[in-house]
Symmetry: C2
Subunit: 338 residues, 2 copies
């Protein structure tokens, strides 16, 4: 099957380039472990915050080792961060390497004598110049970001004694991209149909939870709002029942992103409610997609990668086709100083 505006060869090549970072990532994780740290502080904003979200959430499942996901914008102004010390391991990422809040937050850490490590496109970016050690990846889709961040975090957690399955997981991630191609192909007709049906809607509600909250937020904010100028609201499954539910009526589009972690029961409650009261409920359930040569126990880790392949990549491509609004075009974002 052909996927609209999707270069299969390039995708697989980029996937290989990403996976090839495994050696560098593990080396970095091992060095950092050797140096030692008392907690992990992750700096993200917008898309990067969303991509780190499941990684940090998953780590919290593995252990109560202190790990903090910071909104880099708030990090710059908030007080009383007593956990941020020279014994903190600070991680960040910016593909472009020039996201304002990430640069400033990194500089703030460095000014306190705390080195920053992370990911960026290549050695020429402003972020690369700030990082004590960096992992470079010039290409890649969101699943590649998820993969690299998980690799770094899970290798650290393996070293700390909290994720002994690391090697088996990392070996199996070789099979990630071929799985995500098949999943894209399975989803393609639905992506086309959903975009046709909803791309002109004046308001679309997004609901999600657990490790998929990041992706729920990412698709609605980064893709629909920023890249398509489509009005959305994203709400966590538990909060749906306090306010947003009263907006639901027959013709209100509710997009429910459903995951496979312990929060799933919250999503299911939303599903039971919404299917009674709107004809426009669309459920995106990662459980509907098989994974070949990846163990079931790793499905929760892979679920945001599935969600991003079908939503942030495929559904976005079809929204673009229907709205006629290029995903590349911005009127304000990064167009001038603000």
């Amino acid at each position: 099957m052909s996927l609209r505006n999707f270069n299969l060869e390039k995708y697989l090549k980029n996937g290989k380039t990403t996976y090839a970072q495994r050696e560098n990532i593990e080396k970095l994780a091992d060095e950092l472990t050797k140096e030692g740290f008392e907690n992990i502080v992750v700096l993200g904003i917008g898309g990067t915050w969303a991509e780190w979200y499941p990684v940090v959430e998953y780590c919290k499942h593995l252990s109560d080792f202190p790990i903090y996901l910071e909104n880099a914008g708030e990090f710059l102004v908030k007080q009383n961060m007593s956990y941020l010390t020279k014994k903190s391991l600070v991680l960040t990422a910016s593909a472009s390497g020039n996201t304002k809040e990430i640069l400033e937050a990194s500089k703030l850490c460095i000014s306190k004598g705390i080195p920053v490590f992370g990911f960026t496109k290549d050695e020429t970016t402003p972020l690369a110049k700030l990082l004590t050690k960096a992992i470079y990846n010039p290409c890649g889709d969101c699943e590649d970001s998820y993969l690299m961040y998980f690799m770094l975090a899970l290798r650290l957690y393996k070293n700390l004694g909290y994720f002994s399955q690391y090697d088996r997981w990392a070996d199996q991630m070789k099979n990630l991209h071929t799985n995500l191609i098949r999943i894209r192909e399975e989803f393609e007709p639905r992506a086309a149909e959903i975009a046709r049906k909803y791309s002109k809607e004046p308001y679309t509600m997004f609901v999600g939870s657990g490790v998929l909250w990041g992706e729920t937020y990412l698709f609605s904010m980064c893709i629909l709002e920023e890249m398509q100028w489509v009005r959305t609201k994203a709400v966590k499954s538990s909060d749906f029942f306090h306010g947003p539910l009263e907006l639901v009526e027959k013709d209100l589009p509710v997009f429910l992103v459903m995951g496979e972690d312990e929060y799933r029961q919250l999503d299911e409650r939303v599903e039971r409610f919404a299917k009674k009261f709107t004809d426009k409920l669309e459920v995106f359930d990662t459980k509907d997609f098989q994974l070949t040569d990846i163990d079931d126990e790793f499905r929760v880790i892979v679920s945001p990668m599935i969600a991003t392949a079908i939503l942030t990549e495929r559904l976005a491509a079809h929204y673009e086709l229907n709205t006629g609004h290029s995903l590349e075009f911005r009127r304000y974002y990064r167009q001038f100083e603000y």
Copy 2:
């Protein structure tokens, strides 16, 4: 000046009843301190989560004593809450005393042998029967909830050695309600005008941050969505620049709730941007309102009470007048099992 649908005498009487709980609240705080605890875990959802939000945020300013604000719905499913132990002090609130998630979360704590303390309407509610000790308040507006939660938390923090100004603050809170009447009167013409102008808008964006994030979320979700069926989106000031900004155009309503804590500079950045690109920017700045007989150093604590008086109370009353949709009417919420 007359305030639409507002009973001045009743308001002042309710305010006195709330303030009169001071003795009970302080007694409870002192007993809890005596028994000792290693951290504080607060259970909220929807409106109660929003009302506890500034209290917990403010406490984090005062000290790094561990305090956690839990979404009671997520609390029921999430794993790895190693901080929840018999040495935790668990606090909650539900005016009605029958909020499903609050009851279940409280039961979960009790099943682990952890007692729960908090606030409810009176001794007859289901929550009252679960609480080891309760503070009753049969009446009151949102500012009364804020006041009682702050009283309990700040008395605890005084006892812990983190808020020596407690007595002076609590004494000055006697003057809260008369201040909030004057502030209501000052805001009234603007409330009428804003509701007239925006109540039929198909989509309104709310932006806020810091201790006012709870109130920003509360007004958009509880009042506009739940009680008025008005479509909204609430976003934190720092996140506004990653996604939502691209939606802004001349006729997009952006309601910016502006506070007085260290996050204010994030709000100011939104203001500078939004006023260039929409004709429908409305700024609700607590700094615009004087406080008589309340020291400036307490303004941050009072700011959510100001915001709730002008938004969740006054602006709501005027939305109701313009939409013709009673604030009491719900189609789903608490109308049946879901």
